[in-house]
Point group: C2
DNA sequence: CGGTATCCTATAAGATACTG
DNA sequence: CAGTATCTTATAGGATACCG
């Protein structure tokens, strides 16, 4: 059996899958909009959307705005929402450690207080875990 | 220009790259050991190790234990160490949201207090950010 | 022990055009 | 709009063997 990290990478480990989840989380919900903002080829986007729905990260919803025809939109499920911290953590890492100038900065902010949101390791005892604290993992091989 | 998430995914977005970083972080430092625990094909492992060194996530170090011949080992750089929260966050997500029984559980624990370590989103104002708090991202498109 | 060298397959990505 | 269809290329992954 593979471990959680390996399987999670299979589920969302591709470039476009992660980017699609981010954009849907930010409110981009329709096919052509997603295609425009991500730049993914349409066939790839179709495939990723289908897979993300299949793994329970996205769901499709029909909706109709007053006076307009019925449309369909993609939305994050709870599992998808829980993926956002992972995105924020990876994006932060990229901003901090990849060569400056090679990437655009992306800030994640908390709607309401407006503060910048970052990912941190915390111990269940309540202590924050510093970068150089050693971790041990218990894996059943 | 691509954004930080896209570039970060290019750097570590492959299955074996992430798994190698985890294992090195847990103390597995030599080629054959890494090959054994990850199961990666040797040619792939060679490639990933080289790329991870090239992007500054791993470094090689020569060392010699008393009475033994010189060896080489891989170690995490500071950038590599900062990747551990991302791994923990993704692994946690997999344990929580992927079908039970499909994955092995992996616990990350804090050496010293022994408590379970998880990744959390925190706001710079000091407040923890809940799963359903809405985030906004500022991206320069 | 720490890789290289081949070879092969599977999948992701990219481009472009078409359809209900 | 929201996809399908088709085709091509690039890259990842897997198996196996060999080498200093």
């Amino acid at each position: 059996m593979e471990d959680a990290l390996g399987v999670a990478l299979q589920a969302v480990g591709e470039k476009w899958a992660f980017l699609v989840v981010r954009e849907v989380g930010l409110g981009v919900r329709r096919f052509d909009e997603l295609q425009a903002v991500t730049g993914a080829p349409r066939a790839v986007l179709t495939d990723r959307l289908g897979r993300l729905v299949g793994t329970g990260i996205l769901e499709t919803r029909a909706y109709r705005q007053p006076g307009q025809r019925a449309r369909q939109e993609y939305a994050l499920t709870d599992a998808g929402i829980d993926l956002l911290p992972v995105l924020a953590a990876l994006s932060d890492w990229g901003s901090l450690h990849l060569p400056a100038g090679a990437v655009r900065e992306v800030d994640y902010r908390h709607l309401g207080c407006g503060g910048r949101v970052t990912a941190r390791l915390v111990c269940e005892c309540g202590e924050p875990v510093g970068s150089h604290d050693r971790l041990i993992a218990q894996i059943n091989r």
